[in-house]
């Protein structure tokens, strides 16, 4: 199925956004203390779909919440009862505006682990009920390296509708999935389809080339995959992780990190069981009851983190567990960048 591309300008896009917000449950980046997080909005004034990439949190929590209730239970002398918790407010039909391309790819990457064997139906349902509008950046930020990681200008179904700036104030609205196509047909008032699909694609490619040229960080991920897979025993992990304070921020803000823990909170007879974010950088992550910990040292946890992203997940699911958004490096209190770590390890001698 081929999808439509529409052309508009800034004013036209604003109108489209306003129409969407008035008709649908809409989430968009909302500023607070200089950072943007995705919140439910009721007017365009509250939010900024063009929020800068470096200042915008991942959209992941709208699909995989930071903490969610698994169940409630009650236990007293009369016995025990378990009740599943309330309706999933994230699974209702909704639109998310201003999602960054790299972030949208994060959701695509996560689908692999959520779909193998046991299916995370909540994640799938939330994604199926959501129309994602993504905006493609015009310029790379300091820590960005998304173009190095399977960023494909033509085939990108990570998002439902992609917005791309063309040359001379032109703005392209591209449907990327059937869902996006249908949504646009219903919501674009004056359908100003592009005159020629080809010239629009050419224009988009030009924009991409200018965008790709603005990157400070570039790498050949296939080379890194290959080299990392032979350097499990490299002492470089120790060097690379020395400054880490194990705060786990990198994992919590990562669009692809998906480790979680299960914990109980009980007050008197009533309790709630939660599923919340966890990280392999956490010293307690693999600590066993008897006291044995297979990853007692920081470098081992960092090795797991970087190898999982660039070797293990790739081996298992065919895709890197990193989208090059650079948020871990931006947020790290000691300036560790996954880009630097994997490239550094890959450049060291093989240790068997």
């Amino acid at each position: 199925m081929s999808f439509s591309t529409f052309v508009t300008d800034k004013a036209g896009l604003q109108k489209l956004y306003e129409a969407i917000i008035s008709k649908h449950e809409t989430y968009a980046p909302v500023e607070k203390f200089g950072k943007y997080d995705y919140k439910k909005v009721s007017s365009l004034k509250e939010c900024d779909p063009d929020s800068p990439i470096a200042m915008t949190m991942s959209v992941k929590p709208l699909f995989f919440p930071r903490s969610s209730k698994i169940m409630k239970y009650e236990s007293n002398s009369a016995g025990t009862s378990v009740s599943e918790t309330e309706d999933d407010h994230l699974a209702v039909p909704r639109v998310i505006l201003g999602v960054k391309h790299c972030d949208a790819r994060g959701l695509q990457v996560l689908e692999a682990v959520n779909k193998w064997d046991y299916i995370d139906s909540d994640f799938q349902k939330r994604r199926a009920n959501t129309v994602i509008f993504s905006t493609r950046c015009d310029k790379a930020d300091t820590h960005c390296f998304c173009t190095s990681l399977d960023y494909d200008v033509e085939n990108l179904d990570a998002t439902d509708v992609a917005l791309v700036n063309g040359i001379g104030g032109k703005l392209y609205i591209q449907a990327r999935t059937e869902k996006g196509e249908n949504f646009l047909k219903e919501n674009l008032e004056k359908q100003s389809a592009v005159g020629s699909q080809q010239s629009a694609m050419d224009d988009i490619k030009k924009q991409y080339e200018a965008f790709a040229a603005s990157f400070r960080l570039k790498m050949d991920y296939k080379d890194v995959n290959e080299k990392m897979s032979k350097r499990f025993n490299s002492p470089a992990f120790e060097e690379a992780s020395r400054n880490c304070v194990s705060c786990n921020t990198c994992a919590f803000i990562c669009p692809t990190c998906h480790c979680f823990k299960i914990s109980d909170v009980k007050i008197k007879d009533t309790g709630v069981r939660y599923k919340s974010y966890d990280s392999c950088n956490n010293v307690y992550f693999t600590l066993e009851a008897g006291g044995h910990n297979p990853r007692p040292a920081k470098y081992r946890r960092w090795r797991q983190r970087s190898m999982h992203k660039f070797v293990f997940y790739k081996e298992r699911f065919g895709v890197n567990l990193c989208v090059g958004c650079g948020h871990c490096a931006i947020s790290c209190p000691v300036n560790i960048s996954i880009f630097d770590v994997v490239n550094h390890v890959a450049s060291t001698p093989v240790v068997l």
């Binding site: 025990t80 046991y118 979680f260 109980d264 599923k275 006291g291 999982h308």
Partner: protein, 277 residues
């Protein structure tokens, strides 16, 4: 996902004090239809919750061929297991999810001699397979159980071991680390007894082993010396797990998820994994 993580309630039917710090909890689902339907293969595990305290991973230590109940043998080791020992009484209710994971290759080992090598609480997963094989005795050939513990008090399933001893088709070899008064069986660590007393036949034999890491380490070396090839040595891994569904990332070693691809592995498979367990 959240729905997959909700446990079903089960009643603690019986508690058996196996050793000073190990108890076997005999469980029955509250929902009789569920108990009827519930089945598992030897070596699989469940997520056991003491509501309010937390959830832990335990193998099912009985076989599905013994119907109407399932056992979890729990050693007091950490926060939740200490709570379990302290707070759970017969008649109490606990949460159970499962069964999860792979299992011992019961089909593949048919027609073979079986050598079980267990240490301490490591006999728990083996017991599920031992019961299964006893209940399908004609499918398997010679049957040897080598079981050791630090002291005679630390031997689990004492009553059941007596039954196994009475069964003439099973050879049972017991050992403890240091000599004790009134102890008539072997004295010495498991790998030593394996090499010096059991002296197993290598041809057509599958070894199934589980125990503390140190015992496993030396047992594998002994088996190597005896001439067993790593493909014929089967073990089950203990690893911190939480979801049991291959999602939470805790048991990820290399590209393997121990909770899904394991916990049962051959020694040959383990050798190919990064040394992180």
């Amino acid at each position: 996902m959240e729905a997959l993580l909700v446990p079903s309630l089960a009643k603690v039917d019986r508690i058996i004090q196996e050793t000073p710090d190990v108890r076997t909890y005999r469980l029955k689902f509250k929902d009789e239809a569920l108990m009827e339907k519930f089945t598992w293969e030897p070596g699989q595990f469940v997520e056991f919750s003491l509501l309010g305290s937390g959830e832990c991973t335990f193998c099912i230590s009985s076989s599905a061929t013994r119907k109407g109940y399932f056992d979890c043998s729990i050693k007091k080791a950490g926060v939740v297991t200490a709570d379990i020992h302290l707070n759970i009484e017969e008649g109490d209710e606990v949460g159970i999810r499962g069964p999860y994971g792979n299992w011992f290759p019961v089909e593949e080992i048919k027609g073979r001699n079986l050598l079980f090598v267990g240490g301490g609480i490591g006999l728990a997963p083996l017991r599920s397979l031992i019961q299964y094989c006893i209940d399908h005795r004609t499918d398997y050939k010679d049957f040897t159980i080598l079981y050791g513990a630090r002291t005679s008090a630390d031997l689990c399933y004492k009553e059941e071991i007596e039954e196994w001893k009475k069964n003439t088709s099973i050879k049972v070899v017991l050992t403890i680390d240091k000599a004790e008064d009134n102890w008539k069986e072997n004295v010495g660590v498991v790998p030593k007894i394996l090499e010096e007393v059991v002296k197993p036949e290598i041809a057509n034999t599958k070894v199934i082993t589980c125990g503390p890491p140190i015992m496993i380490k030396y047992t594998l070396q002994s088996l190597d010396r005896l001439g067993f090839s790593p493909e014929h040595v089967i073990t089950t891994l203990e690893m911190k797990m939480q979801c049991g569904l291959g999602k939470c990332g805790r048991c990820n070693i290399g590209s393997t998820y121990i909770c899904k691809d394991g916990p049962v592995f051959t020694y040959a498979q383990l050798k190919a994994l990064p040394d992180e367990f």
